[in-house]
Homo-oligomer: 359 residues x 4
């Protein structure tokens, strides 16, 4: 079950970096939604390696193919199977990985768990696994937009110490996509890009923060007590490669205020309730309150560095390793569509659950 996510809108991803391809099965999608590959491909293009000078150079078109679940351009309500062929497989580039565990990678833990691993290109731990998520997320985003009026966005908020001030209530998709780092503040984006380029030159890597936003979510989505909306978002984010932290609304900084200072006062206007501040991040008691949902996810610097490092080999002998594979100096620009996808998958699932139980 570990490769499935969601309850009513459930996806199952499959595929290793090297092998036939990677893909996803989406089970539970509502019928009669207009859907073709053209709805999916743009998000895969945003996730794709080689899309700009600041991301990993793997050369793959990542063309998605829908194999089932649609008829005459509309969803049937049956499973939607989508996949992308693997093309740029360079096993020779990875031979050292067959015998050595890369530091802070999953080579060692996969070996410890399964007693076997596909060491070529990282196998299942490759970021290629997220292709299935992003493809499924594109469907979820479309459903949310067309049937619920919900908009899901994500953007790069911070790269190392370079941080932008962005208003989640107002940020626009076009501004996010206006530069290759996907930070909607173009001046800050410039600085981020320069830092990442420096990392690329030195063979090092850098991390940062992606903010996720959902606007237009009605009050009432989220299932106490265990499947709180923020709990499912936290799991979704921490399931992404290289993620290390999650905070909803005021997050860690909430602890600097007292309760009196921190509480979001309710006000009503024209028969509608709103809060004068939004430290709750749009969620109270695990349920959306109608305000903008926003949260932040930290991604560590990618572990693959072009620098010699201490490690051990499969015979448990001390040795060193220097990556010769592709170098991804910063995962953040490509993490943006991943965060959007996982956010949309959480939200559509809760939309359906709310409909089932409470309507």
């Amino acid at each position: 079950m570990a490769n499935s996510f969601g309850n009513l809108f459930r996806i199952t991803t499959w595929g290793e970096s090297h092998g036939g391809g990677v893909g996803v099965v989406v089970d539970g999608c509502s019928p009669r939604l207009a859907l073709t590959e053209a709805d999916i491909q743009p998000d895969l293009d945003r996730r794709r390696p080689g899309q700009s000078k600041i991301v990993t150079p793997r050369k793959e078109a990542d063309r998605v193919e829908i194999l089932s679940g649609t008829f005459e351009g509309k969803t049937l309500g049956t499973p939607i199977s989508m996949w992308v062929r693997n093309e740029d497989q360079r096993p020779e580039a990875y031979t050292e990985m067959a015998t050595k565990f890369r530091p802070s990678h999953a080579d060692y833990t996969y070996q410890a768990k399964f007693g076997i691993r596909s060491w070529q290109g990282g196998g299942r731990t490759s970021a290629r696994e997220t292709i299935g998520r992003v493809a499924a997320g594109a469907i979820a985003k479309k459903l949310l937009r067309e049937r619920y009026g919900v908009e899901v966005l994500a953007y790069v908020q911070q790269v190392q110490k370079i941080s932008a001030e962005i208003d989640p209530d107002k940020v626009k998709f076009a501004d996010i996509e206006s530069n290759i780092v996907r930070c909607p503040d173009s001046a800050v984006a410039e600085k981020m890009i320069r830092l990442i380029e420096k990392m690329r030159r030195t063979g090092d890597t850098v991390g940062g923060i992606v903010t996720g936003v959902a606007r237009g979510v009605p009050a009432g989505w989220g299932e106490p007590v265990f499947d709180r909306l923020e709990a499912d978002l936290a799991k979704a984010m921490l399931s992404l490669p290289a993620s290390k932290a999650f905070e909803i609304g005021s997050g860690f900084s909430s602890i600097l205020l007292t309760g009196t200072q921190h509480n979001d006062a309710f006000r009503a206007k024209g028969g509608k309730v709103y809060t004068t501040t939004n430290r709750s991040g749009g969620i109270q008691g695990g349920i959306s309150n109608g305000q903008t949902i926003y949260f932040r996810t930290a991604f560590k610097p990618v572990a693959t560095v072009m620098v010699e490092q201490d490690t051990v080999d499969v015979d448990l002998k001390n040795t060193t390793i220097k990556s010769r594979g592709r170098h991804d100096p910063c995962v953040l620009p490509r993490a943006v569509p991943m965060v959007e996808a996982m956010t949309a998958l959480v939200l559509i699932d809760h939309a359906l659950r709310q409909k089932a139980q409470c309507e």
Copy 2:
């Protein structure tokens, strides 16, 4: 399903603050584990209101009763049903809550979701719900300790700006329990207690950080790709009342280092692998690597303050509310056993999943 947690070791909690009681059914517990109420009660006592001068004064003994699943002091492998009666119910103290939504509470969102709510004492949103979790967690902790040699701990790391430096590899349960705030550094604990007492006097509240630790987890627990160990821990923590943020290992601070600086080098000694640093927090690629697992959870200041605040009523009119119920100036001391419980529930579930698939 929202009130169940876990896959193979699955708990289902039930109960409102006012009503017959609160409880839990544990399904999937291994058979032949010695188990009586004496194994459960100590953790409930650590979770109990009224245990010290710095926590909410609700007067309940919270005596747990095991109704099923054991025979002659041993688990049967059948569902273990446990419950605690509600005693200290003071509906009169809450009457204002029938018509007004408390700021940053779940009153409004429950009403929006369900179209009805048990407004007495917060109903299902009451912290009493966690009694079931803590009771189930006590069983999980015992199984982990006796069958897997795993120790689960939690402690208060920070209250507002007062922070302690604690080594997760060495912290001792006795030190944590040596003071009422559950911070293992007694000098820092004193300061924390003074701050909380001040909050109690002013009717305000304060939040902070609880660190969770698991020692002795073997390499190999955790299920990529969605049920990564840190993803399930993140969900577990964010499902706790008042929690706002989660970070594993280096967490948000990971972004301040480059990849070269951040990576945990592997070394081997005597046929065993270890890492020279532990920024990974004991988890790599979603799977435990044999090092100590540690993570931090932020709890916001509790929303119930004894101060007049702006809000709206059920007729969507602007008004004010001043809580007259019980005042819990700081949830952290009682959150410690909750964090332990949820951690143990995540770990035992993954232990069983590892056994099922890979052994």
Copy 3:
């Protein structure tokens, strides 16, 4: 998970024959349904031992208590916990069971599986476990009736070779309940009762067939491909103690006809589709077609007989056993509310799933 049933309307039962009691937690019930113990008790009374001269004489009132999930007589949408205390526990009557395995009972298999068993009164294998199902089923039936216009019924169709001809489209609850064996044909019921009384006198037991019926189910419930409506009904029925077989619609007898003879022709009248025959049993391709759903479940003769039988003891030595406990000559009259309950649980779950995905 083995003690939970359902996806969106999910129940978890707990409890052994001897111990604190037996109960159920219902998760996912819609909010704002009027509900008190008075809605539950009648079905428990129909399931109760000692209700007539032809069932097991265990003397228990089986009074249900709702512990959570309602407020001012209405469901909250939160878990509904219900339980019944164990009263008539006679451990002394069962001491032989501690060391011997009763033939065709689950004593041996529980021991083989769990390495431990609660031998008093059959522990978890006791029919008392079905109390939780029947209580939850009463809620499901009420939801189905009030919100979907669906009526669920069951009746005894056959006892050994004594069989009744009943029309599932027309059978009435009052007729079913007009006699103690719950066969709506009173003449046949008389014969059945006489046969069961004979069994009671000789210490033997007898089985038969219960038919389940659901009327008013709209076209569209049921989830291909694995969660077909008839597949979930089959599982539900085979999960009942002593059940051995299930058939939907024409069932086993379908094989005596050719396809041309067997097919149900569609006709339309007044904008509504119906079938001129109903060999499909109201389900086609796993989905309800708007016709009456009916199916049959066989219950074997209860294994507890008051006659000496060959068996083995816990030391795996050959021996004999003669039951001295309570004698239930025929489980069928009490199986009727169980069949209703499980049917209603399957249907409400599919009603909610249909609402979630397709509406």
Copy 4:
């Protein structure tokens, strides 16, 4: 979730009759099992249309391709994605199906449920969907055989009134496969084949009974109370297209005996327990008892007949329809590998669950 089956060994099937293809993702397969397409293809060949003169003539090679989850010929413990391309698509043969509902098919119910349907070749209701099940079942059978010493078999027991007497304890795979109808009694098989050929000539269809057998299952598999082994088998069987009934062990005929006559006496020999009869069908209280598991599934005559029949069209007008598509006079020979597959999927899941909880 409706397109997934299993808990720990979980499969998700996808695909319509017309479209890119059909396939399955297997999640939870144990690592380090030798696996290539050669392990899968033989069962697909047994399921394939056009394999003999008595089955549907659709001309497809049904070549399976493994896309993920293996490395150097061994399973990785990651999802195994397998698929078969659709080749023989003849949309023109089905045009009448666009506007008319075939009697006793799922055309009408799919339309009622989803408001849309892939009418070409039956879409998702096509027997092609079972390709994924059979492919996954081949893996499950191999795991059961190699790691647990369990053998799974199925055979045609009855076609209409032509019935064979077969001993489940002794039946051999080679005998089953020795003729095209897959009845291990060759004399009876001849009669069955003649009957089916007659049906083919007249454009009619005929049903019958497939018996499933599992030998070598140790005592202890099966999860009371809801996931009893026979309950999961019943669901598995009733989820197969055209199935109408299921019985375990003595099944419906159990009701003809009294309890004294029906009980299976235990005996011990050489420290091993066995039963002198096996009316239980190898399962007691939902748990395997170490004896041979056997059960029977009835498949109705296939609904597609080459004869004019009454039906309605999509405008709800009365009309007639005469199938012009492929004619499958009897589904039984091809149902045999399907029954095997579903049986193996149930068993491997329970093997893993037993390992997780009780070992």
